[in-house]
C-alpha cells in the first residue's frame, strides 16, 4: 500500500474525537489501585490492633504517603503524552525527597543519641521496604494499562514515575498496618520503599509500556 493510500484510509470517515478526560481517568485508576491495596492490607495483614489510640499516627503516615504520590503525579501524567516538557515536575519530586531527608535529620538530632538507632530502624528490619512495593503492584498494573492507551515515549522514566506514584498509594494502604510511628523511620523507609517501586518501574517500564 502506498503511503498516500494509507493516509486516505486513515482519514476516511473520521468522527469528531471525544474529549479524552485523562485527568478523570487517571484519578479513577488511582482510586481503584488504592482501594485494592487497602483491601489487600486488611485481608492479609489486618488493621493494627491499637488503631483506637493510633488513629492520628496512621492518618499522618497516610498523609505523608499521599504527599509522596502527589509530588510524582504531575510528572507521571506529563510523561504519558509525547513531547511535553517536564519543567518543574521533576523539581517537585526532588523537593519531596529533599524535605524528607531534612525531616529525618531534624527528627534524629532532637533525640538522645542512645535512642536514635532504634527510632530510625524501628527496632528491626524495616519490612515496609518489601511490603510497600507489594501493595503498590495493583495500582501500578492499572496505571500501566492506562498509560498504554496514551502514548508514553520515555519508557524508563515513565515506568519510574508510575512506580513511585503507585508506591505512594501502596504506602498509604500499608500505613494502616505499620506499627512503627517514629518520624525518622517513616521519612526514611517509606521513601526508600517508594524509591524501590520507582526502580522496579524503571526496569520493567521499557518492556511493559511499549506500544
Amino acid at each position: 500500500m502506498k503511503t498516500d493510500d494509507l493516509i486516505d484510509m486513515l482519514a476516511k470517515n473520521i468522527e469528531p474525537a471525544e474529549r479524552p478526560r485523562w485527568r478523570m481517568r487517571t484519578m479513577l485508576t488511582l482510586l481503584a489501585g488504592l482501594a485494592i491495596a487497602v483491601a489487600l492490607v486488611l485481608t492479609f495483614m489486618g488493621m493494627r490492633p491499637d488503631i483506637g489510640t493510633a488513629t492520628w499516627a496512621v492518618l499522618l503516615k497516610a498523609a505523608f504517603s499521599a504527599t509522596a504520590a502527589a509530588s510524582v503525579l504531575p510528572l507521571a501524567m506529563r510523561l504519558m503524552r509525547p513531547g511535553s516538557p517536564l519543567g518543574w515536575r521533576v523539581a517537585a519530586v526532588l523537593l519531596f525527597v529533599g524535605v524528607s531527608i531534612l525531616a529525618t535529620a531534624i527528627a534524629l538530632m532532637g533525640m538522645p543519641s542512645g535512642l536514635r538507632l532504634r527510632s530510625w530502624m524501628g527496632g528491626g528490619f524495616p519490612w515496609c521496604i518489601v511490603l510497600i512495593p507489594i501493595f503498590a503492584a495493583p495500582a501500578a498494573a492499572l496505571m500501566v494499562w492506562l498509560a498504554r492507551s496514551l502514548a508514553p515515549t520515555r519508557l524508563t522514566l515513565s515506568g519510574a514515575a508510575i512506580g513511585a506514584l503507585s508506591g505512594g498509594l501502596g504506602a498509604m494502604a500499608y500505613a494502616m498496618y505499620c506499627p512503627v510511628d517514629s518520624v525518622a523511620f517513616v521519612t526514611t523507609w517509606y521513601v526508600v520503599g517508594i524509591a524501590i517501586c520507582a526502580a522496579i518501574g524503571a526496569i520493567v517500564g521499557s518492556k511493559l509500556l511499549r506500544w
Binding site: 500500500m1 502506498k2 503511503t3 498516500d4 494509507l6 493516509i7 486516505d8 484510509m9 486513515l10 482519514a11 476516511k12 470517515n13 473520521i14 468522527e15 469528531p16 474525537a17 471525544e18 479524552p20 504519558m80 503524552r81 509525547p82 513531547g83 511535553s84 516538557p85 496514551l150 502514548a151 515515549t153 511499549r210 506500544w211
Partner: protein, 181 residues
C-alpha cells in the same frame, strides 16, 4: 511545507471531525517525517518509508494525546523518535545490527518524494481479528458510513467505531513487528 501553526490548525480540525483537514495533516506530516527518518536510516530507504507509514498510524490513533497548549511538532517528533527507537530495539533483540550501523545523522537526503514501503499494509489488514478487519474494510476502505457498516454487520454503531480504533492500533503493532523482522 506547512509550518507549526498551520499543521496544528489542521490537526485540531481533524480532531473536530474534518476529514479533509485530517488528510492534509497526515500528508504534511508524512512530508516532514520522510526526511527525518531517511537522515537517520541512511541506506535503508524502504525502512524509512515503512517507519513513515507506521508513525502516521501512530499519530492517527494517538491524536487525542496532543495537548493543544503545547507545540505540535514537539508532539509529532516525540512520537516519530519513539517509533524509530522502538524499531532499533526490536532489530537489536533479533540480532540484526544493520539498521543501527546505518544510523548516522548526516546531510539531508535531497529526494523527499514518497518511496515504496517494503511491507504491504493491505496484507497486514487481513491479519486483523475478523470484527476489526470488517469494520475497517467497510468504513475506511469502501464507501460505507459507520451507520451503514453497523447495519451490514449487525454490530452497534459504537462497537464499529471502537473496532476501527482498536484495529488501527493492532495494525500499527503488526507493522512494527514486521519492520523489525
Amino acid at each position: 511545507m506547512a509550518d507549526e501553526a498551520a499543521l496544528r490548525a489542521l490537526l485540531l480540525k481533524g480532531l473536530a471531525g474534518e476529514e479533509a483537514a485530517h488528510r492534509k495533516f497526515l500528508t504534511e506530516a508524512a512530508a516532514l517525517l520522510r526526511p527525518y527518518f531517511r537522515n537517520r536510516l541512511r541506506g535503508a530507504r524502504e525502512d524509512a518509508e515503512d517507519l513513515v507509514q507506521e508513525t502516521l498510524v501512530a499519530l492517527h490513533t494517538r491524536r487525542d494525546t496532543y495537548d493543544p497548549n503545547l507545540p505540535l511538532t514537539a508532539w509529532m517528533y516525540a512520537i516519530a523518535r519513539y517509533r524509530l527507537i522502538d524499531l532499533l530495539r526490536r532489530k537489536k533483540r533479533r540480532g540484526d545490527h544493520s539498521a543501527i550501523d546505518d544510523l548516522e545523522i548526516g546531510d539531508a537526503d535531497p529526494a523527499f518524494e514518497a518511496g515504496d514501503a517494503k511491507r504491504d499494509v493491505a496484507r497486514l489488514l487481513a491479519k486483523l481479528p475478523e470484527k476489526q478487519r470488517r469494520a475497517i474494510e467497510l468504513v475506511k476502505l469502501q464507501e460505507h458510513s459507520v451507520e451503514e457498516a453497523s447495519r451490514l454487520t449487525g454490530y452497534g454503531v459504537s462497537d464499529i467505531k471502537v473496532s476501527i480504533h482498536r484495529g488501527m492500533k493492532t495494525l500499527m503493532k503488526l507493522m512494527a513487528e514486521e519492520s523489525a523482522a
